[in-house]
């Protein structure tokens, strides 16, 4: 077992992990943060995307041991105890989610993108090329993210 000290959603967590434990399994099954979803475990679908030190990463392609000393943010932290963020509210308004399984990952990737500037429609679509959604056909997701850009 390896000791890991990691800030997760603003709170320092100290845990012992197996060397091979995936970050996605660590978040879901050891810390109980089940808003992070696992869709393929080979880095294509993007459902498990979280932010590590601000950058969107696939938690199924990282080991828990790698986040020792880092700061991790998951979907549960976006609104916290408060109202939905403008990005989340825009998803609701545009019917940009149906089953909602891919949504957490897309929200985390989009929140990273929004903090880095004012993306164009093409840039939003490029971002989404790393995420699979099988329900919406993507167009409402693009519209929702662009609305959040305006806000």
């Amino acid at each position: 077992m390896i000791p890991v000290a990691v800030e997760v959603n603003g709170r320092l967590r100290r845990e012992q992990v197996e060397p091979r434990l995936l970050l996605s399994d660590f978040l879901r099954h050891q810390l109980g943060l089940r808003g992070t979803h696992v869709g393929c475990e080979h880095g294509v679908c993007g459902a498990c995307t979280v932010r590590v030190d601000g950058a969107a990463v696939r938690s199924c392609l990282m080991l828990a041991a790698q986040v020792d000393g880092a700061s991790v943010e998951t979907v549960e932290n976006l609104a916290g105890d408060g109202e939905l963020t403008p990005l989340q509210a825009a998803f609701r308004e545009h019917h940009a989610l149906q089953c909602g399984f891919c949504t957490s990952g897309i929200l985390m990737a989009a929140s990273d993108l929004l903090e880095r500037g004012r993306p164009s429609r093409d840039e939003v679509e490029d971002l989404l090329s790393g995420h699979l959604c099988r329900c919406t056909g993507y167009e409402p997701i693009v519209d929702a993210i662009l609305q959040a850009v305006e806000q």
Binding site: E18, R20, L21, R28, L33, R34, G35, T36, H37, V38, G39, C40, E41, H42, V44, C45, A47, T74, V75, E76, L78, A79, L84, Q88, F91, R92, E93, H95, L97, Q98, C99, G100, F101, C102, T103, S104, L107, D122, V124, E125, D126, L128, S129, G130, H131, L132, C133, R134, C135, T136, G137, Y138, E139, P140, I141, V142
Partner: protein
């Protein structure tokens, strides 16, 4: 009870979803998120590496010795503890939840390891000693073993072909694909030794007929298999109907090992051994008069269902049986249906379910015929569309189309797509050497399946011995608590469609409330929910029978509230009006909370004959869904929407890449209960159809090895791959559903593959286009 006409109807409004708040916060509760029983062991499944092999030895000793392993269930155990799954074809080979002596497809379960966690369980899989002798495998449907061969003929087909001026005779192929919800399948199984029963939590989409099939395999009466679904499901599109075989497999593991067992499918398992759409090879002959009148159709379909006929197959082949003539007025139709087994993954429900396969042949044929007749493809279709004054319309094969105005939809679509302008642009582009093509598709979208259609796989004679099957029903319960909280319970097992929101709208209308005043529970529990054999989420049945049952249950509650209120207000129940959370008579009113209080706290005061409490269940059964008749005619669905698509594509002459320049779809699904959600279904169906048209394809090599076993190989479209979608609606209510609604979840999945194929064929001047239209494939077809 009176209904004030001026009150706004919540049904028909684009109400934003009540589901979304929790899902956006990461507080959805999907299958892998719930721990319904403590100390469940984690399962991993050993699978056959070969498409066809004899299992000579399977020794789990070394796996059992690994610390953390609880035990192993082998195929031999499965054979000993369970019965083959029931299926609707007499001579289908026995199918068990795991293989015992012979493995028949790559990925077939051979054993289950249960351990303290999944990591250990997967380690243990590698320690099982497995000795297999590979056998010759059949990967080509044309070489498959025929397990069902039925021929049908309606009307005078032979004469029609004799007097035809043009016969189009072509062969078409629709490959395997799979809808791949982003959440995979999952089960928690907890065998109760004392009672000899199984409780299973699964992201299943029923009970449907498959609960009975699973219970039968376990040797249990229906009450012995308690099935519970979690609050949220991460998509299904049909494929999670196949979870039932894993409910049996994990249920047996729990029984055998004496511990609760949980299993979450991984993506590779899902792609390898989930539920593929059938591959269909169709020969279609179509007889036309010179003026374009369609005289007859003759199908010859070979349907590859994989290694086993897994219920509800061969339903893919029969779901569309009443719609063999599509949207057209055709007096004569014949079909030969052959079901073949191959050494490939068993097939099952996938969005569209038989529609993409049927319409690829029919709508390609209409386009090819138009070209040969020298007609515009839109004109040929218009010439043959069923007229608005012909509904309800009985098709030759027994389908009963409820309502529609097909010609108006076609006109709308052509106008919205600027069809005439595109034809001019196409000609100009061609003059510059650019390959622009325009494709049309007109499809009738059946919804609410007749539970009896699958019995067409048997002859009329074979059917006579068994209980006839017909109809499609759904139940719903509406209750009001002692302090006035309204709860709706449904067995429609949604996977993202927004059933909670629509049920709240429907109930709010009936009770004079706001949708936010209504709580809707969609977790199904077969021991407490109101359900029947049709219950669940498939064949786009929710808006017709699901919401219809809610409407009827809410009306029962409304009637009871009206009776109680009438006594309070001193009027007749018919003169009570429910609105704004109160019951009104003139200026006098009494609150819903008080009425609920009377029903629960003060039953002594209830009008004579009225039961205490406020808890009403209603079942709605779609009408006009008789069992197949002696001539094999069947009304295979209760409601029929209509979809017209216009696709405009450009093919790159250097690379063969297809770009969709413009895409329009116009649909008529009856009354739209929530236009926001309706558009979501249309967009989602389009994305699946466009994926099938351009990208998605399950590929096996000639030995039956799967070549598309990851998302790197099985290509799903992403945002930059899909064009913006232009959507138009018409609303011709169905006379057969309580709210006038028809299903609309699958129409664009049926129409899009062939609309895009027609456009590509138009662009490159070839008839032999096949989906998916990948650049390599199109490039090889370029003249």
């Amino acid at each position: 009870m009176g209904v004030t006409r001026e009150r706004t109807s919540w049904v028909g409004q684009p109400v934003a979803r009540f589901e979304d708040e929790a899902l956006l916060r990461g507080e959805g509760r999907y299958m892998d998120d719930i721990d319904p029983v403590p100390h469940a062991g984690h399962a991993a499944i050993l699978r056959s590496p070969f498409a066809h092999a004899r299992v000579n030895a399977l020794d789990p000793a070394r796996a059992l010795a690994l610390p953390g392993v609880i035990g192993v269930l082998t195929g031999a155990d499965v054979a000993r503890l369970s019965r083959p799954f029931a299926v609707g074809v007499p001579d289908a080979p026995p199918y068990l939840a795991a293989a015992h002596e012979i493995a028949r497809y790559a990925g077939e379960p051979l054993a289950v390891v249960v351990a303290r966690d999944r990591y250990i369980a997967e380690d243990a899989l590698e320690l099982i000693e497995l000795h297999l002798d590979p056998l010759d495998a059949i990967a080509d449907p044309d070489a498959g073993e025929v397990v069902s061969d039925r021929s049908f003929s309606y009307g005078d087909v032979e004469t029609a072909f004799t007097r035809a001026d043009l016969v189009v005779s072509e062969r078409f192929r629709t490959p395997r694909w799979s809808c791949n919800p982003v959440e995979t399948c999952g089960v928690v199984a907890d065998w109760n030794r004392a009672a000899g029963t199984l409780t299973a939590w699964a992201n299943f989409q029923g009970p449907f007929t498959l609960h009975s099939v699973a219970a039968g395999a376990l040797g249990l009466p229906g009450s012995g298999l308690r099935l519970i679904t979690p609050p949220d499901s991460g998509g299904s599109f049909g494929v999670k109907a196949a979870v039932y075989t894993y409910i049996v497999l994990l249920g047996l593991a729990s029984r055998h090992l004496g511990v609760p067992v949980r299993w979450t499918e991984d993506r590779i398992e899902h792609l390898t051994a989930g539920s593929h759409a059938t591959e269909r090879r169709t020969g279609l002959e179509a007889a036309f008069a010179r003026d374009g009148e369609l005289l007859a159709l003759r199908y010859d379909a070979v349907e590859d269902v994989g290694a086993y006929l897994r219920a509800p197959e061969p339903a893919t082949l029969y779901r569309m049986h009443g719609s063999l003539s599509g949207a057209y007025r055709v007096p004569a139709v014949a079909a030969r249906n052959r079901v073949v087994l191959t050494n490939r993954c068993p097939t099952g429900l996938n969005r569209g379910f038989g529609g993409p396969q049927l319409y690829f042949a029919l709508e390609r044929t209409m386009t090819i015929a138009a070209q040969r007749l020298g007609l515009d493809p839109a004109d040929l279709r218009r010439r043959n569309l069923i007229g608005a004054d012909e509904f309800p319309y009985r098709t030759p094969s027994g389908g009963l189309y409820d309502s529609g105005d097909y010609g108006a939809c076609l006109d709308d679509a052509l106008e919205l797509a600027r069809y005439d302008e595109w034809r001019i642009e196409q000609a100009e582009a061609r003059a510059q050497g650019r390959r622009i093509g325009i494709g049309l598709a007109c499809v009738v979208e059946p919804s609410i399946s007749n539970m009896g259609y699958i019995t067409l796989a048997q002859t009329a004679e074979e059917r006579t011995g068994a209980l006839p099957k017909s109809g499609n029903a759904e139940g719903a319960t509406v209750s009001i608590s002692p302090i006035g909280g309204v709860t709706v319970r449904v067995g429609t097992t949604p996977q993202g469609q927004g059933h909670r929101t629509v049920c709240a709208q429907v109930t709010a209308d009936a009770l004079g409330l706001r949708p936010e005043d209504v709580d809707v529970v969609t977790e199904l529990d077969t021991s407490t929910s109101a359900w029947t054999v049709a219950s669940g989420n498939y064949s786009s049945r929710f808006s017709g029978v699901g919401a219809g049952a809610v409407h009827l249950a809410a009306l029962k509650i409304a009637a009871k509230l009206g009776t109680i209120a009438a006594a309070e207000l001193g009027c007749d129940p018919e003169d009570v009006d429910l609105r704004d959370g109160k019951a009104w008579h003139g200026d006098g009113s009494v609150s819903l909370r008080r009425l609920a209080g009377i029903a629960h706290w003060h039953p002594e005061s209830l009008p004579a004959g009225l039961e205490p409490g406020l808890y009403e269940t209603a079942f709605f059964g779609a009408p006009n869904l008789a069992a197949p008749d002696a001539e094999d005619r069947v009304a295979s669905s209760a409601a029929h929407g209509f979809v017209v698509d216009v696709a405009v594509v450009e093919v790159d002459g250097e690379t063969g890449a297809v770009e969709v320049l413009d895409y329009t779809t116009v649909g008529d699904a009856g009354r739209l209960l929530n236009p926001l959600l309706a558009e979501g279904q249309i967009r989602g169906g389009f994305a699946h159809g466009a994926g099938a048209a351009l990208f998605e394809h399950i590929v096996y090599d000639e030995d039956g090895n799967l070549l598309t076993g990851t998302f790197m190989d099985y290509v799903c479209p992403t945002a930059p791959d899909l064009p913006r979608l232009r959507i138009g609606h018409r609303e011709t209510p169905s006379p057969f559903t309580p709210l006038g609604a028809k299903g609309l979840g699958e129409g664009t999945t049926m129409s899009t593959p062939v609309a895009i194929a027609n456009a590509v064929a138009d662009a490159i001047g070839r008839d032999d286009v096949e989906v998916p239209l990948t650049p390599g494939r199109v490039w090889e077809l370029l003249p």
